[in-house]
């Protein structure tokens, strides 16, 4: 049994042979990272973890091997590099989509409730698009049209942050194929600014 597996066992639940939420919390505190920190999510992405809150042995091995870490220390040191890698534009879109899927806990679930979306947005985009996230979260809580957000809308928001100048939104055209929720969002902001 190699060191990666040993490390796995330190956090895994004996009976299920998975790292469960409790284990992850322990891991986080050992890594000196809050469990809502984006880097944990990035770690999950690197592992291609399927179920939120759980790491399987296979996923663990996959992730740590890719990071070339077999001790806690090496793992801790690998996190900044991991973050840089994820933030590369080519990877970030993938990571962003992954984050959404990671939150789909029920089978056949396709959308995420507003509350969770707000939290997710904060984690994933809070540091790069502070203003947009703040406005959008406020809007989501006020509006009544949608009780859940689907993948299409989620990705739409990502494109919005990357392409539309904020807060003037001069280059936004509601007659294009933007998701309706963003049309409404833009209108809401315009009214607020008036």
């Amino acid at each position: 049994m190699d060191r990666i597996d040993q490390l796995f066992n330190q956090y895994a639940n004996r009976s299920s042979n998975l790292i469960d939420p409790e284990g992850i919390e322990k891991l986080c505190s050992n890594l000196d990272v809050s469990h809502t920190d984006i880097r944990i999510l990035m770690l999950a992405w690197k592992m291609k973890a399927e179920k939120q809150g759980y790491f399987t042995n296979e996923e663990w091995r996959r992730g740590l091997k890719a990071l070339r870490a077999d001790t806690l220390n090496k793992l801790k040191k690998a996190l900044p590099e991991l973050e840089k890698e994820v933030r590369r534009p080519t990877n970030f879109a993938d990571f962003y989509a992954y984050a959404f899927n990671y939150c789909l806990t029920e089978e056949k679930q396709k959308s995420i409730d507003i509350e969770t979306i707000c939290q997710l947005l904060e984690i994933v985009m809070g540091s790069t698009f502070r203003a947009q996230v703040d406005y959008f979260v406020e809007y989501l809580k006020i509006q009544n049209d949608y009780k859940v957000i689907n993948m299409d809308q989620w990705m739409g928001l990502y494109r919005f942050c990357n392409e539309i100048s904020f807060p003037d939104m001069g280059n936004y055209n509601p007659e294009l194929a933007w998701p309706l929720i963003l049309d409404n969002f833009v209108e809401w902001i315009a009214e607020k600014q008036a």
């Binding site: 959308s111 689907n150 299409d152 809308q153 294009l176 194929a177 309706l180 049309d183």
Partner: protein
């Protein structure tokens, strides 16, 4: 002898020259010159044509053609110069007469001279390419008389003066005018145009400019147009009498420009007499005149059409948005039909059925009918009224006429699906209460709707008719197999196929024992022959005829709703009942029960029940008893209310909501259809195509379309293109 050559018989010209006496030419010329003088002096009778011709011929033959030609010109010129002086000396009115006279004389002389000189014309002049005699005679006249400075201007002014006089009503010598102007024409087209026509047109232009200004200040539109028409006719008449036919178009253009084109806007918009006034007051003659005059000028009809269109739109808008007028839907629609008839008549009587005006009429109606969101409902109510009683006594042909007119209005509707919903509701009520005036009329209208909108529109409606028919057969079968039921109450059941009829929730209701027994028997009979089906009694849609005997022996047959029947039957077993008792016994929901009791107890002339206290509204503490003193002059009294009515606000909202719900799947179906065939399409094009496809039924909202697209994306029917965000892809 035998070698004698054969010689052709030849005629040889004189081998020797004919010597002509040089003096011969002079002598000959003198003869001719003298002859010309005599001709001009009207003294030609003594002349011998043959002799003169031969003289001219000889001169040419002996090579003296030039002398002859020159002499002719010189002599004629001298004569013409003389004539000019004479003409110029003429005073006043005789000037023109003199000119005309001299011209006629000249023509006669010229002809004679030409005849005499014909050989020269055909030989010498041909070969030397000089001007022929006749044209030369004209040119000489032109140069020496017409263009003689002392005559030129005076002639033109005299002619124009005469035209002016005629325009102001004086009578002039038209024959003389014709003659003189024909002279111009004969002298050549350019002479006519330069020396007469152009100045004539300019003067006319000035004249009409002034006159039109006078008229427009002093006349109303109708009168002005009459005057303009009169002037136009006059000018055409003038041309016919004494001008070149080619001038007609030019002079009419002048009149059209000065009298019509320059004042178009002012005429059309004239207060209290312009186009709008004429339309409002059916002034067919004036309108026809305006149409005929304005069509002659560029943008004339366009101007008329535009003013008519904006008037129609304004009038229509006021008509449909006036709350007073929306009170009675049948009145509302009748007004629309009347207005359409009126303008149809205007266009066919006064505007020659001009298609562009028809189109303007249609587009205006389409515009304002849709300004009122209740138009579809009102048109259905109008039809309902007609099919219910309005067509009673009408002949088939007239029925068709009315239905066709209704179809015309229907075509203007943008929200045809709203109409369909209401039509279905109203039709259901008509069929179930047996209140159709004519089955044929109903069917005829359905056929028209099918032709207009396709099979889907009417398939459900036809299903309703089928159900009615099938129910009749079912009833026959029911009573046929239960002969013992022919005593006792008669049950008539209509079995409605869900889906064809407007959906109504089933309302609970306890039927009286006699009735429910029958109903159960029917149910088992029906399900016996149709296993697998489910029957639900729609107690809120039925009616009943009850025979009632009142306190003083009055007998009446009451036509009531099912709910009302349930309530009334209770009084067979009790004299007095409280609201709560009635509610408990019938289990009818409160709002329906209150309405039902109200119609039984609170309506004058129909109050078979009395209520304590006597207030207008039904209170839960009220009690009820039979009105033994009930009277009515009719034996049959109708109390039930199953008639289609204009919806209340909340009902209207509900219907609108249902319509919106129904539109969603239609929009989705359209999107899927389009994407299936195109595979990839960009956003703007999808919106455009979907809107176009749905246009026969309703006007699709782009935001709604977007919502449906997103819903389809979520359900994996479509996806966004990964590189170009404006594109959508169809997912098979």
């Amino acid at each position: 002898m035998s070698n004698q050559k054969k010689r052709n018989f030849q005629i040889e010209a004189f081998k020797h020259r004919v010597v002509v006496d040089p003096k011969y030419a002079d002598k000959t010329w003198q003869i001719l010159e003298r002859a010309i003088h005599q001709i001009y002096n009207q003294d030609a009778s003594g002349l011998s044509f043959e002799e003169l011709y031969r003289n001219a011929y000889n001169m040419v033959l002996h090579k003296f053609g030039e002398k002859l030609y020159t002499g002719f010109i010189v002599t004629m010129t001298a004569h013409l110069k003389e004539k000019s002086k004479l003409i110029e000396a003429a005073q006043g009115g005789s000037f023109l007469e003199e000119l005309n006279k001299k011209w006629n004389e000249h023509n006669k002389a010229l002809e004679m001279i030409r005849d005499i000189l014909m050989y020269m014309d055909r030989t010498y002049i041909e070969s030397t390419k000089k001007t022929h005699v006749h044209p030369m005679g004209f040119s000489l006249w032109r140069d020496n008389v017409v263009h003689f400075t002392k005559i030129h201007t005076r002639l033109l002014n005299t002619l124009l003066d005469l035209v002016q006089k005629e325009r102001t009503g004086e009578v002039i010598d038209r024959g003389l005018m014709r003659s003189v102007i024909k002279m111009f024409m004969d002298l050549g087209e350019s002479v006519y145009q330069e020396d007469f026509e152009k100045p004539f047109l300019d003067a006319s232009s000035e004249f009409y400019k002034v006159e039109s200004q006078e008229f427009i200040e002093s006349c109303d539109c109708g009168d002005y147009l009459k005057k303009a028409e009169k002037r136009l006719t006059e000018e055409i008449d003038r041309v016919a009498h004494y001008l070149d036919p080619k001038s007609e178009e030019k002079i009419t253009s002048v009149v059209e420009k000065e009298m019509i084109a320059n004042h178009m806007q002012r005429l059309v918009h004239m207060e209290n007499s312009g186009l709008v006034y004429m339309l409002l007051h059916d002034k067919y003659e004036d309108l026809g005149r305006m149409y005929n005059l304005f069509r002659r000028v560029t943008n004339g009809l366009l101007t008329v059409r535009d003013v008519m269109t904006s008037h129609l739109r304004e009038m229509g808008k006021q008509l449909v948005t006036d709350p007073e007028k929306s009170k009675d839907p049948v009145e509302f629609v009748q007004r629309l039909l009347d207005e359409r008839d009126k303008y149809d008549k205007v266009i066919s009587t006064a505007f020659g059925n001009d298609k562009t005006f028809q189109n303007a009429l249609n587009s205006s109606f389409e515009h304002f009918i849709n300004l009122n969101a209740r138009s579809p409902e009102f048109i259905s109510l109008f039809v309902d009224d007609k099919l219910r009683k309005g067509l009673k006594g009408f002949v088939d042909v007239d029925v068709e006429v009315i239905l066709d007119k209704v179809m015309m209005l229907f075509r203007y509707l943008q929200e045809k699906d709203v109409f369909e919903k209401y039509y279905k509701q109203h039709l259901a009520k008509r069929l179930l209460s047996g209140k159709t005036v004519s089955d044929d009329a109903e069917r005829s209208l359905i056929v028209k709707l099918k032709t207009e909108c396709g099979y889907q529109f009417t398939s459900k409606l036809e299903g309703m008719f089928t159900d009615m028919k099938t129910s009749e057969d079912t009833m026959r079968g029911f009573y046929g197999s239960h002969p013992e039921l022919s005593e006792g109450p008669t049950l008539i059941v209509q079995v409605l196929t869900t889906g064809s009829w407007p959906t109504q929730p089933a309302v609970p209701c306890n039927l009286p024992a006699e009735v429910s027994v029958l109903c159960e028997k029917f149910r088992s009979y029906y399900l016996g022959t149709h296993t697998g089906r489910r029957l639900t009694w729609q107690t809120n849609m039925g009616t009943a005829d009850i025979k009632a005997l009142f306190g003083k022996g009055q007998k009446h047959e009451l036509n009531v709703s099912t709910f009302q029947m349930c309530v009334l039957m209770l009084f067979n077993n009790a004299d007095r009942l409280s609201y709560k008792e009635i509610e408990q016994a019938t289990e009818i929901p409160a709002s329906d029960l209150k309405r039902c009791l109200q119609s039984l107890a609170c309506v004058k002339g129909k109050n078979v029940i009395k209520k304590e206290p006597m207030s207008k509204d039904i209170g839960e503490e009220d009690s009820f008893y039979v009105n033994e003193k009930f009277t009515s002059k009719f034996y049959k009294v109708k109390i039930g209310t199953v008639v289609a009515q204009k919806e209340t606000e909340p009902e209207k909202q509900e219907t609108r909501q249902r319509v919106e719900e129904d539109r969603k799947p239609q929009i989705e179906a359209a999107i899927v259809r389009i994407m299936k065939s195109r595979k990839i399409l960009d956003h703007n094009n999808i919106i455009a195509e979907v809107t176009k496809q749905l246009q026969p039924r309703f006007l699709a909202n782009p935001t709604e379309i977007k919502k449906r697209i997103e819903s389809l994306i979520e359900r994996d029917f479509l996806e966004r293109d990964s590189t170009d965000r404006k594109l959508y892809r169809y997912l098979a």
